[in-house]
């Protein structure tokens, strides 16, 4: 990476224009322009799976492209680090692929840089030929019901962030003192939360779950978890691997109601294989009585219930229960809709985790954003009405899908960028300053980016600390600690 040395005095009104002009006279452009092959400069905003898979495809397909990945946190990998459950380490193997990408000469990593405040998207567009937004979904869908803001109610995103070491969630302090916890939503994230709440401690303490959350879970009095969905068994959003894990979770038993599955055996005969296998497993778990003594911990799926109120404790200081409206289905299959029947029921509980979906947020006023779908409007990854701007991952499609889905999607966006470079739709004939300009700008604004080598120092410290306690890593959960280690 060529370094850009600023010799002129830096004034308060320093702008990117100045940096770009100045950069042209320094080594920024030294290696550019002298050969015939173009070196397009591409910037990717977001260092998670979408960002890295997009970078990977660009670097592999174009031998001259320079790709810079900007990431808000000092550490890369997004939801692979912060979303995938601690007891799913194999899913995190993909980090090795991303590491290979990041270590390439033509790939730069800039952690600790918040696009939208440290730098604007406009400034990125001036410094790079193409800007690809892959910043995912940092918000959650809200329930929109009274009591949602009471203590004891958390979004699954925050709860998962808490046990996975997201710096912003380290002080969550979820209330684990009551026997019953209710999770709203029946997707894989809901099952992850249930599993972490009910897993035997001996299993959890060998994972990369944070020390702070492990200690809290060790003192947890949660023994029953109710996983609530608006629709029926044929509409659960979780997948079979996660369901199997719950069914086989040591020290726990499922408490499914066989009545929920009446008549389903015929209904599943002709449906697509994934849904069929999943439903058959659910039915088996519901209809078979577990042999042996009853387990101490219990989980169940409650169908056809939609939350209407979160009920406060008598002193109104926290959540103490939830009111659920009973629904029935209109239509069938994946598109069945839940319709209220008028009946309600109430469940006492001390912890409510809302797992109804992540949600993307707008990053910058200049970037088009569809508030209804909460995505960046685009066609095949090309942001609408914004030439030079692209998007990949959840911010492009919506916050669903596993790593494989995001991988395919990212390759698709990369293909759009490459096609545009080839066709001239994206003009890469004039060199752009790329990271050189960024370095100067960030320095002037007092922002210290963390390089990939900086992350590798953090990685080494986490791994070493983990080894001491029999874990794959002991995550740093404070940004200041991360920055300190990265700068050693």
């Amino acid at each position: 990476m060529s370094t850009c040395i600023l010799r002129a005095p830096v004034s308060k009104g320093f702008s990117l224009q100045f940096a770009t002009t100045f950069a042209k006279t320094t080594s920024c452009y030294g290696k550019l322009g002298s050969t015939a092959a173009p070196q397009p400069q591409v910037c990717i905003v977001g260092g998670g799976p979408a960002g890295f898979y997009t970078a990977q495809h660009l670097l592999k397909s174009h031998k001259g492209v320079q790709v810079d990945v900007f990431e808000k946190l000092p550490v890369p990998f997004g939801l692979v680090r912060f979303g995938v459950a601690p007891d799913h380490p194999e899913v995190k193997n993909v980090i090795n692929t991303f590491t290979q990408t990041a270590r390439q000469d033509r790939c730069g990593f800039y952690g600790n840089v918040t696009v939208g405040s440290d730098v604007t998207v406009e400034e990125l567009k001036q410094a790079y030929h193409a800007v690809i937004l892959s910043y995912g979904a940092e918000g959650s869908r809200s329930l929109g019901i009274p009591g949602e803001d009471l203590s004891g109610v958390h979004s699954a995103k925050d709860f998962v962030g808490w046990y996975n070491g997201v710096p912003g969630n380290k002080d969550l302090k979820p209330d684990l003192s009551a026997e019953m916890a209710v999770i709203l939503g029946q997707g894989n994230v809901a099952l992850d939360v249930a599993r972490i709440l009910l897993s035997p401690l001996e299993l959890l303490k060998k994972t990369d779950i944070t020390a702070g959350s492990l200690e809290a879970i060790a003192g947890s009095r949660v023994r029953r978890v109710l996983i609530v969905g608006r629709r029926g068994p044929l509409q659960v959003a979780c997948t079979i691997k996660e369901l199997r894990e719950m069914i086989n979770l040591p020290g726990t038993q499922p408490a499914l109601d066989p009545r929920d599955f009446q008549g389903l055996r015929e209904a599943v005969q002709d449906i697509p294989r994934p849904r069929k296998r999943l439903t058959e497993l659910l039915m088996k778990a519901a209809l078979e009585k577990a042999a042996g003594k009853e387990a101490e911990r219990e989980w169940s799926l409650r169908f056809l219930r939609s939350p209407t109120h979160i009920l406060p404790s008598p002193d109104r200081s926290r959540a103490a229960g939830i009111r659920l409206a009973v629904t029935r289905l209109e239509g069938s299959g994946e598109h069945a809709r839940a319709v209220l029947t008028g009946e309600v029921e109430e469940v006492e509980c001390g912890l409510i985790v809302s797992s109804i979906g992540y949600q993307s947020l707008p990053i910058d006023p200049t970037v088009p954003f569809d508030p209804r779908q909460a995505i960046i409007p685009n066609r095949m990854g090309r942001v609408q009405q914004a030439p030079g701007l692209y998007c990949s991952g959840w911010v492009k499609r919506g916050p669903t899908g596993v790593i494989a889905t995001t991988m395919n999607d990212s390759f698709d966006t990369a293909r759009s960028v490459l096609d545009d470079m080839e066709s001239g739709q994206l003009d890469t004939s004039t060199p752009r300053a790329g990271s050189c300009a960024m370095h100067a700008l960030l320095k002037q604004r007092g922002v210290t980016p963390v390089s990939f080598a900086g992350w590798e120092k953090i990685d080494a410290v986490e791994t070493a600390r983990g080894r001491e306690v029999g874990k794959p890593r002991e995550k740093l959960v404070d940004v200041r600690d991360m920055l300190k280690v990265a700068s050693l």
Partner: protein, 192 residues
């Protein structure tokens, strides 16, 4: 030396072959590559010596060369990968090769995000007609992961779970297309 090493490695040739003076046709080259691995035996010793002394005349040790070639052929499993753009890439695999890593070795863009640990579906391939039954039944865990793969078909398998056997000679492995219309209206959201 470095350049010839690169050339040697890229052509899959052994060091022995590089010292050959007369360049034979490719099949002899391939045979010589495997000569290295032959154990010395009384009947074939002259042939082995011939390999080590780098004679390449086709007529030498005729019956033992044929034996070597048979053994070599027995080991080879020819498969064809069809990449996402429809390009056919014939590959000479060996018995015991893993379909995912064989693809990597030949630069075929078959991802293996979880590194063959049955925790993803990125190595999803379609197995050609007539070969599905020659594969062992998938493990329940493989079926679970396949259920999550986009564009799942009857002949879908995870590449990381397929090991080459002689019966798989001629098998074609097609990578699912990352279709542009992957996201058309009506696409149901995938669980996560």
């Amino acid at each position: 030396m470095a350049a010839s090493t690169v050339l040697r490695k890229s052509m899959g040739l052994s060091l022995t072959i590089r010292r050959v003076s007369h360049i034979p046709n490719l099949s002899n080259w391939a045979r010589l590559k495997h000569c290295r691995h032959l154990q010395p035996s009384t009947s074939g010793e002259r042939c082995q010596r011939a390999c080590r002394s780098l004679h390449t005349s086709a007529g030498l040790c005729h019956s033992d060369e044929e034996g070597a070639e048979r053994e070599h052929d027995k080991d080879v499993v020819n498969v064809v990968y069809v990449d996402r753009s429809g390009r056919r890439i014939p590959v000479k695999g060996r018995v015991g090769d893993n379909v995912l890593y064989l693809a990597h070795k030949h630069g075929i863009e078959l991802e293996g995000a979880c590194e063959a640990s049955l925790a993803c579906s990125t190595c999803h391939v379609y197995v050609s007609d007539g070969y599905r039954d020659k594969l062992p039944e998938p493990d329940e865990r493989e079926d679970d992961m396949l259920d999550m793969a986009p564009l799942l078909q009857e002949n879908s398998r995870l590449g990381c779970q397929i090991t080459l056997t002689p019966e798989l000679e001629g098998m074609e492995l097609t990578l699912p297309k990352i279709t542009r219309n992957f996201y058309v209206d009506g696409h149901t959201p995938k669980p996560h």
